[in-house]
Symmetry: C2
Subunit: 304 residues, 2 copies
């Protein structure tokens, strides 16, 4: 099977390692030449949640190279950041005839409305619940083991993706029928945890330890569940606080992004909910303020 | 004239210096023995906005000593932080018969409703627009020259306070007829500038330089002018942004308080507006969030 992973951040590197460990031949598509060289020279390094350290060889390719190739791909996993997805999307359309199945792993809800444009035989959406942190261009830390929930948006008879993903047991690919709800729940978690931990520069657990942060988190939660029209508030709130508790010593991806001077995913995560709220005529002052707070931090850090 | 200044933070020290400079005999009432000793040993030191440095002798007294004395006081200036005012208030009532006039200089709107309880002949409220920063127990920096707007809440025929204050020209005591409006305007400024600069750890000017902070500031502004039922929004917004601009290299008192691990005045400044909003049935989500954000920071810094 020919698996291509597009995007070499924390999630892209994490997936690459577990596919290679399982004996799959994968290609990791990176954007920058420098990272390509680093990955080729140093190998892909990972510190797993069991504290063991591993170094594997991974076939790498630049995005330009990938675009000019005609190789047939059984599964393309799109693991780029949500804000890079529109760029990747345009290019992917040109290679559509050579791709059998595509799995999208973006945060937020932005990419959903474009999925129908993908004409390949299988299209799926996944939600990564693992904790992963990119240390440098060739090293990732698997900070917390969990699952990847995914579901078919469109599928043919072959079920290529299901066959491939079922093999990667260590990542706990869990097929769900309601991928849209899984995505919404992940977005609720991201809205509640990411901007607050980034703004206050705290680990996830602090949101429950500091009652004033819990108060703000609850207001954000109330707005997002209203926009999503989720009914089982109590259950979803438990889901959010459980994740906070389980990942209490973790830094959220948004916290790490801002710390490292990178663009955050605030537009995909909070922006997408704001837009949905606006369309439904629902006021979201807490989301609006958090959006501007993170944009203000990006501005402070020179990410403009 | 016997002038007593109660409270020896930035404002208390600033006032003490300018009264002494004018040849007034004043008593500065401090809370902590340690500060009393420091002021006695080192003198009261000030760096003025013209960059000159001065060191003057000031008569100091502990609050307990002040309370047990019976000396007749012509003017008592209450320069304690808003959150210390309730404690001072209780004690002051016991010395009321020996005080001819009292001037209150607190931030926020909390103290207003209690003013009618003061039975001395003259009661006034003032708004300090000077920039002042406490460096240590005996040093203050006059970071920006402006004015102190004040007005009589109650007065007799003698006008003792007016006579005393008119002499301290360097502090530009400016008597206004509508002290309540002056206090409201100062509160609008404090609500717009203090919590945001404290949360993002920026100097005042950054609120205009970073458009995302300006957006948040404008939302806070909209809520506070709605609560105060101010009509001339455009004029008040200009007033706020002018102060931001004039004090662009200054750190707000709330920023400094949190930086130095002290309790902030968030309850007096934002809390008082929240309560007024609640009484009037006006929603104030931005104020609520800012309130919790600053309380969260106090918690982080161990000020609980």
């Amino acid at each position: 099977m020919n698996v291509t992973i597009i995007g070499s951040g924390a999630i892209g590197m994490l997936l690459s390692y577990y596919f290679v460990e399982k004996g799959q031949t994968i290609t990791l598509v990176v954007r920058r030449d420098e990272q390509l060289k680093q990955l080729q020279n140093e190998g892909l390094q990972i510190t797993r949640y069991d504290q063991t350290h591993h170094n594997v060889k991974v076939k790498t390719m630049t995005f330009d190279h990938f675009m000019s190739s005609n190789a047939l791909i059984d599964l393309a996993v799109i693991a780029v950041k949500a804000y890079d997805w529109p760029t990747v999307d345009k290019s992917l359309q040109k290679r559509m005839s050579t791709i059998k199945s595509i799995l999208f792993l973006q945060n937020g809800m932005e990419h959903i409305s474009y999925l129908s444009q993908y004409t390949c035989s299988e299209v799926a959406v996944g939600v990564v619940e693992h904790g992963a942190k990119r240390l440098n261009d060739f090293t990732v830390v698997h900070t917390g083991a969990s699952a990847i929930k995914w579901g078919y948006v469109k599928y043919g008879e072959q079920k290529i993706m299901r066959t491939i993903l079922e093999e990667i047991a260590s990542l706990h690919f869990e097929e769900v029928s309601n991928w849209y709800e899984a995505l919404m729940r992940k977005t609720v978690v991201n809205v509640c945890i990411n901007p607050l931990t980034a703004l206050f520069q705290v680990e996830n657990g602090e949101l429950l330890a500091n009652e004033h942060l819990t108060t703000i988190m609850k207001h954000l939660f109330d707005e997002v569940v209203e926009v999503f029209e989720l009914i089982d508030h109590f259950k979803v709130w438990s889901y959010v606080t459980n994740i906070c508790e389980r990942t209490k010593y973790n830094q959220s991806s948004m916290y790490v992004d801002l710390q490292q001077g990178r663009k955050s995913e605030i537009e995909a995560i909070v922006g997408s909910v704001q837009r949905m709220g606006k369309e439904k005529g629902i006021n979201t002052p807490y989301l609006n303020m958090m959006f501007d707070a993170i944009k203000a931090m990006e501005w402070q850090k020179g990410v403009r």
